[in-house]
Each structure stands twice: as structure tokens, then as C-alpha cells.
């Protein structure tokens, strides 16, 4: 069975993104499932970034540390990932960088330099050479690639000046690394072709570079044994990031209007919607207006206007932008306008670490907006869920004429996964637009009092009508009358109950694993697959846990959660925030206190390996709180 993880690192702007894309394509060609994510600084050029991947015969659920292969394209990468390679792994580095010292690397974080000095000081200093000695002592195999000499070879073989082919260094590194793992050259070449196929001038030197690197490894370290092919060879598959998949869900789900203001890690979602704003469907064109707003205030207020005029509308943002949207969310509740906000969480507070992972905006989403403003909050656990949720959120917004927050995060945004055709089946999905009224009468009441709290909604442009952010009567006319006021508040309350009762419980939460397990992990969002993957390992080591995944955080599934959790002896909360935001909600709604916690707050993804470790510590050693800290 194959289950291999790898990291390929280098300077930002040095081709790490495309290296990751090539690796994924090569591995998919070889028939494996793959998951891969990019970790990067808030920087355009020079800072360290890396791609972290895992490929396996089984479903590729989550990332794992340590890895079986580190490919370090520069000294900073070699030093940064010195702790990440396993005892049986390969450590591929630039042989010419051996003398480079962490102290002289301008882009490296100061405290990383200090940690390296502590670790490598006893060996004579924080140099790449000493890092290589350390990984070797731990059992890994260092592979020093003489990159300069190899580049010269590529230059000779392609008859191109060095400067023109210098960029192939990333492909050299990945080719050497993949070959060491047992991926044959023809699959590496396939990955390169799939990535650069449209650009012959780029394709050729990269193929040569890969060959040169593979030949070098073979000549110096012997012919490597090939891995058996994975089970999915020859299949049509999709490679999509979380940003992509949400965009796809929106387009497929009938989105007609999207706004955004640039912010990491949400922008790529809007960008992919924009790429598909004018798609061909059975010979005719479906158009979506995608507009970059001047700020998040405009982004959300524009969709309020568009939705009132009949558009199926959404915007996407991250924490700081969502803060700016709060007042408009309140208006969406008051004026009963259907909007969807994709909220891609990142590490806060404030600007925090803009390009890194966090799950700190759950309570922000729940409580956004002043003045009694409940709203639907949905958290997707993985790409597949995110795709369907993108469609469902559009449906729910229109069915219930309410704001819906689709909670996602940086890890999902940047993580690429492989999907099969059946996983994205839309044939049974319905588009729901609720009580949309296309032919309102002359006495149309936008806020007609109804039993379920939902009034027929006519788009603007049919008959004179009032849409109001002020308290209003059935017609939308402003009123401060106490009877009107109470009537409208009670209408909104009935609507909220309708929402809570209409969304099936199985959409709101999912119990994974053995229902009779004594230990229950609770979590929400992108920790799902790391936890599921960890559960397999925990079961193998005799710890039987199940996992209660909260999919809809508002309206909160209090009763069902209580029933499930009553059976559990030990509840462990797993969250990437320090206020235990999900546990807080659970206690508020059910009185159930979550005494054990696994906390991830270093702004890196949650790895399955650390979930295993943390649960063992709690179950076997009685720890109450484990802070897990993996990730470079």
C-alpha cells in the first residue's frame, strides 16, 4: 500500500506553485489520490514558501508530518524543513548551498534562525551542511543535487543561455525527488506536459531538466525501484482547490451576481467565478456579473441591491472584510434580502497572518450584525461538502430570504484535491428560489405577515413597493408603532423557527464512526478530514473514538447534539482558535461542557498525525488540553 507525503520548498516567485501543480499531475497520472496545499508568506517574491502533499491508494484525506521526502530548492528551505523529514525519508537539497548559514539568510524569520542555532549550534553552526548531517543521523538519506552543474547541462542540451532556463530548477528538484520515491520519468514528464503543455517554449526545457535530474540520481544513487501504479490510472479526474470548488458550486448553482474586494484567502474564489462569468451551456451563454467593489462595504451592499432586484447574489471575503460587512448583514435580516457571503477564515485577530490558517471567525459569523440578527451559518469540512454547500447556501438564502454565511478557511482555499465525476453529481440537485413572486398584484405587501414568517418576494421592477432597513409594516412603510414592531419581530422569529425546522437534522451535523464509542471528538470546518484520517490510526492502536462534525452552526442543532453527546464519556473539542468557539456554542445551546481540548493556534493546518498524538495524550495520559504545534 502506498501512502507517501512530501514537501517541496523554495523562494516565493521561484516556481513552487507550478512545482506543486506538476507533482500533483504526475501523481494523478500514476493513478494515486493526492492532496496538496501551499504554505506561503504575505509576500510576492523572496520569502520561503512550500507545497506539502500526500499521495496514496486510499482516499487522500489530510496532510501528514513528518514526510518521506523534502525537496529544498534553496538554503532557507533546507534549514526550514530540517525537522520535517522522517527517519526513512529523502532530503534533497542544493549541494552548492552546504556552506550557507541561517544567520546570513535575510528572508528567514529571526526566531527560526534562533531555533536553528540551538539545534545545529552543537554541530558547529546553523549551516545547510550541518542540517544535512542532522537528518542523516536521524536515518534519512540526503541527496545533494549539484544544481549549478545540472543547469549547465540543461543549458547545453537545449542550446539556451543559462538565464533562459534557470527557472527549471524547481522541476529538477521535484523530478529528482519523485524519482527517489519510485515515480518513473514518464509520469514526471506527463505531469510536466499537463502543466506546461500549452507553452512549448516552457515545456521543452522543463522536460530536459527533469531528465537531467533523474539521470543524475540514477547515476549516483542507483536505479530506483518503481512504485506499483495507483488504482485510478486512466480515469478522468478533476483537480481543484477549495477556492475553485466553491466558485464551481456557485456557477453551477445559478449564481448571477458576485462581488468581491481583494483579500487573501478569498480572492481566488471570485477570480474563478470571473473566469467563468460567461459560460457556454448547450449552445447558449449564461452570464454572471462579477464586480470588484471599492471596499467590502460596497461589495456586500451591491449584492443587497442586486438580490432585491432579483439576482441570485453572493460575495466572498475573509475576516477583516467580514467585519466591514456587519452592518449590511443586519440590513439583510431586517429587509429580508437573500445574500450569501463566503467567509474564508484566516489567522487573526486584526490583519494577523493574512496567508495562514485559522478557525477564529465562527462566533464572528454567528453574531455578526446588530439587533437580533440570526442567520444561517454553514461550515464545510472538505471540498466535496464545499461544492454542495455553495449551491445549498444559494438555495437557503432565497428560500428563507436571509443572509447565509458559508464558513471556509485558508487551508481549504489553498488545498488542491482530486475529485471523481460521481463526487460532484448535480443531477439530483434542485435550484430553489423560495416564494419568489413574478406577478405581484397592485396591493403587493413585501413583508406580508404569514404563518411561516416568509413573505412572497417580488423582485424590484414589478410594482411599486418598499424595501426597508427601518422597522416597517407589511408594506415596508416605516413605523415605530409598538404593535407593528412586535408583529414584525414575531414574524422574524417565526421565520427563524421555520429555517430551523426546514433544514433537516442530517444536514446540520454528522456523527462519523462508531456511535457507541466512548470518546467523541467535536469540531467544525476543515479539520474534518484530518480527524477522520486520525480516527483510522487511533482505531489501529485500540482507541475507539467517534467524531461529531457540526455542519450548520446556526441554527444550532442543540437537541440532536445533546442526544449524541449524552452517550459519550469523554468529549474532546478540536479547534484552531483559543476561545473554544464551538464548545462555547455547544454549552450555550445545550449546557454541555467540553472539558478536553485539542488546540491548534500556530496558523498552520491541522495534520492527522498530531490529532492522533493529542488524543492519545488525553485518553491515555489524562491530559486536559493539548496544544498541537506541527508545521513550518
Amino acid at each position: 500500500m502506498t501512502d507517501v507525503s512530501l514537501i517541496i520548498g523554495g523562494p516565493q516567485g521561484g516556481g513552487i506553485e507550478s512545482a506543486g501543480q506538476v507533482v500533483i499531475r504526475a501523481l494523478v497520472a500514476k493513478g494515486f489520490n493526492v492532496i496538496g496545499t501551499r504554505e506561503y508568506h504575505s509576500n510576492i517574491m523572496g520569502a520561503h514558501s512550500y507545497f506539502h502533499l500526500r499521495f496514496t491508494d486510499k482516499p487522500a484525506r489530510a496532510l501528514r508530518l513528518p514526510v518521506e521526502l523534502v525537496v529544498a530548492l534553496d538554503a532557507e528551505s533546507a534549514l526550514t524543513h530540517v525537522w520535517d523529514v522522517s527517519g526513512k525519508g529523502f532530503f534533497v537539497y542544493d549541494a552548492d548551498s552546504k556552506d550557507q548559514d541561517a544567520g546570513r539568510i535575510a528572508s528567514m524569520e529571526l526566531s527560526l534562525k534562533k531555533r536553528l542555532k540551538e539545534t545545529l549550534g552543537p554541530k558547529g553552526g546553523a549551516t545547510v551542511g550541518n542540517a544535512v548531517r542532522l537528518v542523516e543521523e536521524r536515518g534519512a538519506t540526503p541527496i545533494g543535487l549539484p544544481l549549478k552543474a545540472l543547469l549547465k547541462k540543461v543549458s547545453d542540451e537545449t542550446a539556451s543561455p543559462l538565464a533562459a532556463i534557470a527557472k527549471t530548477i524547481n522541476v529538477m528538484g521535484l523530478a529528482a525527488g519523485l524519482y527517489l520515491l519510485g515515480i518513473e520519468y514518464n509520469y514526471i514528464a506527463k505531469g510536466i506536459e499537463l502543466q506546461f503543455g500549452g507553452r512549448p517554449k516552457v515545456l521543452k526545457p522543463n522536460l530536459v531538466a527533469a531528465k537531467v535530474a533523474v539521470d543524475y540520481v540514477e547515476a549516483n544513487y542507483g536505479k530506483q525501484r518503481a512504485l506499483p501504479d495507483g488504482p485510478h490510472k486512466g480515469r478522468r479526474r478533476m483537480l481543484a482547490s477549495g477556492n475553485d470548488i466553491v466558485a464551481m458550486g456557485k456557477v453551477v448553482g445559478g449564481l448571477t451576481f458576485q462581488t468581491f474586494y481583494p483579500i487573501t484567502p478569498s480572492s481566488d474564489e471570485a477570480f474563478y467565478v470571473e473566469e467563468n462569468m460567461y459560460v457556454d451551456v448547450n449552445g447558449s451563454k449564461a452570464s454572471i456579473v462579477v464586480l470588484q467593489a471599492e471596499d467590502e462595504l460596497a461589495a456586500v451592499n451591491m449584492i443587497l441591491g442586486a438580490a432585491a432586484a432579483g439576482a441570485r447574489a453572493s460575495t466572498s471575503t475573509s475576516g477583516p472584510g467580514f467585519s466591514l460587512m456587519n452592518e449590511a448583514i443586519s440590513m439583510a435580516v431586517m429587509a429580508e434580502i437573500p445574500i450569501v457571503i463566503s467567509l474564508w477564515m484566516r489567522a487573526g485577530p486584526s490583519t494577523g497572518i493574512a496567508t495562514r490558517q485559522g478557525q477564529q471567525d465562527l462566533l464572528h459569523a454567528i453574531f455578526a450584525g446588530h439587533g437580533d440578527t440570526p442567520k444561517i451559518v454553514v461550515a464545510s469540512g472538505d471540498h466535496r461538502e464545499a461544492f454542495y454547500d455553495a449551491i445549498k447556501t444559494l438555495n437557503w438564502a432565497e428560500e428563507f430570504q436571509t443572509p447565509v454565511i458559508h464558513l471556509l478557511d485558508k487551508y481549504l482555499a489553498a488545498t488542491i484535491t482530486v475529485l471523481d465525476e460521481w463526487e460532484l453529481d448535480v443531477s439530483k440537485l434542485e435550484i430553489k428560489r423560495g416564494k419568489r413572486e413574478e406577478a405581484p398584484g397592485n396591493d403587493y405587501k413585501r413583508y406580508e405577515i404569514t404563518e411561516d414568517g416568509i413573505s412572497p418576494m417580488a423582485p424590484l421592477g414589478k410594482v411599486p413597493m418598499l424595501v426597508s432597513s427601518l422597522e416597517h409594516d407589511e408594506y415596508g412603510m416605516v413605523t415605530e408603532d409598538p404593535v407593528d414592531r412586535e408583529e414584525m419581530v414575531m414574524k422574524r422569529l417565526r421565520k427563524w423557527r421555520t429555517i430551523a425546522n426546514s433544514i433537516p437534522e442530517e444536514e446540520k451535523l454528522v456523527l462519523h464512526g462508531d456511535p457507541d464509542a466512548r470518546v467523541t471528538l467535536i469540531s467544525f470546518g476543515s479539520t474534518k478530514q484530518a480527524i477522520l484520517s486520525a480516527m483510522e490510526d487511533l482505531a489501529a492502536s485500540g482507541i475507539d473514538v467517534n467524531f461529531l462534525q457540526f455542519r450548520i452552526l446556526s441554527p444550532f442543532p442543540a437537541e440532536t447534539a445533546s442526544k449524541i453527546l449524552e452517550r459519550s464519556e469523554k468529549i474532546i473539542g478540536v479547534e484552531a482558535n483559543f476561545q473554544d468557539q464551538l464548545s462555547f456554542l455547544l454549552r450555550a445551546h445545550t449546557g454541555i461542557y467540553v472539558p478536553y481540548r485539542v488546540r491548534k493556534v500556530n496558523a498552520r493546518p491541522l495534520y492527522d498525525s498530531e490529532v492522533v498524538h493529542a488524543v492519545e495524550k488525553i485518553v491515555k495520559e489524562g491530559a486536559r488540553e493539548v496544544v498541537v504545534s506541527s508545521g513550518a
Binding site: 451576481f257 456579473v289 462595504l297 441570485r312 440590513m331 461544492f387 411599486p464 432597513s469
Partner: protein, 306 residues
Amino acid sequence: MVRKWIDYKTEAWVQWCPGCGDFGILNAIYRALAELDIDPSKLVIVGGIGCSSRSVYYIKANAIHTIHGRAIPVASGVKLANPELTVVVTGGDGDLLGIGGGHFVALGRRNIDMTVVVYDNGVYGLTKGQAGPTLPVWLKTKALPHPNIQGSVNPLLLAFAAGYTFIARGYAFHLNQLKDLIKAAIQHRGAAVVDVLQPCPTYNDIMTNEWYEKRIYYLSEDSSWDPVVRSPQELKEKAPKILEKMMEFEDRIPLGIFYQNTYMETLEERLEKLMPGYLSSPPGRRPVTKPLAHPFELFKDKVVQV
């Protein structure tokens, strides 16, 4: 059917102070709409928050009362979702040029075909007379404990710099002239702004009706005045004079159309160029009945066949 001004009046009680300039502006809007015979079903009035933004309740139309400062983005969303609608924004100088100033600028850049009527009295009336963004520096109205120490923004210059293609200024109590300006603004294809000077009899005791009447005059009194610009070349030639007139705001205050650009394309036209068919099936009217297609069909750039 030819509509009369009364056809645009709702039954709601107009709750402004006696003598408020808002009455004049509202009456001018009624009359402009009637003369253009705009169907109230196809008319959208969008207001922010403040005394003047309440106009949304007084005009028979599709009306949205939004939140403070955000009338322009909400109106932009409406117009882009359904370009066949006539969209008019009503708001005060505080709403549109203070808290909503960023959106005021962005609308100019976009040149969406809609009209912004600025009820410009220099004060925040509904919160009892604080200084608005158009109140000149060192003025001390009776509502202010100290003279205003913040400078004022010139709405016309701001609109010109932002890219509005129709810029006019009127006076609240000159009903006929103001009606004509609003009419021209609505008829203009592109982003239009009408800055309407108006007294706030309750809080601005300096810029009163007498104060304004002493100063205002019409650009059209000069028979050679021609604000229409039909080409980039013509803009270059006329800009200095236009800017000079826009900057005149002391002893003499000009009113009328300062600038009208007839060649700049609107955002809707740009969208139609980008996506032919947008105008006939815009976001608010495009039928959405079932999922568009399987993602493997739609997003072929993400599909790998190996």
C-alpha cells in the same frame, strides 16, 4: 398614459421641518418624473440614512431605504441586476460625501447609468446639526458649540475627478430650474450627480434662503455656456472653464449644468461588450431553474485525463 406629479406622491406624512429645503427637492423630483412619464413600477429610489433619505417613502416607486452611506452601492447592485430600471439615489451631503464618500467616487469611475441627488445643506440634521462635509471651515452655526475646524469638500470637483459624466448644481427652492436639472440628469446616459443647495432652517442659521439667494446665479445666463463634451479633445478644451466655474463658491455661486460627457460608455455597455446578451438577460431576470451543468462539463481546465 401621461402622469401628473401627484401620481408620484405617496400617502405617507412628509415629516420634515417647516421651511426645509427637502420639500423643494422632493417637489422638483415629482415634477421631473411626471414630465418624463416614468412608470413607477420601473423606477427605483434608493436612500441612505438622514432627513433627506426619507424621500424613499414619499415617492411612489420601488424604493429601498438602506443603511447610512450605502445607498450608492445598493443602487449600483439594483441597476446592474436589472438595467431596464431607472435608478435615482437620494441622500444628504453627510450620507453621500461623508460616510459614503468612497462609494460616491467609485460610481464616477464606473459610470453606471443612474442619478444621484445630493440634498446639500452642510449639516447632519437628523442628529441635531453637526457639521456636514460641505460646511465651510470656520463657520459657526447655532447648533455647533465651536466654529467648524474641518474644511469642506467640493462635490462638483470631486464628481469631476471621479468621472461622473453629468454634473449639475441646483437650488432647492427654484422649483422649475431644479426640475429641469433633475430631468436632464435622469435622461443622461451615465452616472449623473445633481448637487442641490438647500437651507436647513433648524440647524444651519448661516446658509439661509436669503444667504443663498444673494449669491446664486445660473450658468445659462451666459448664452455662450455649453457644458456638453462630445470627445476627449473637446474635454481638453472645455475643462479649464468648467473647473473654474466649479470652484466658484463665495460671493457668487453658479447653478446649472457644469459638465455633460456624451461619449463615455457606461458600465452596462462595457458588460454587454464583455458578455453579449447581458442586457437582455441580466442577473435579476436571467431564469435560474436547474443546475447549469456537471462541473466536469463546465470547468474543463480543471479536468485531467491521464
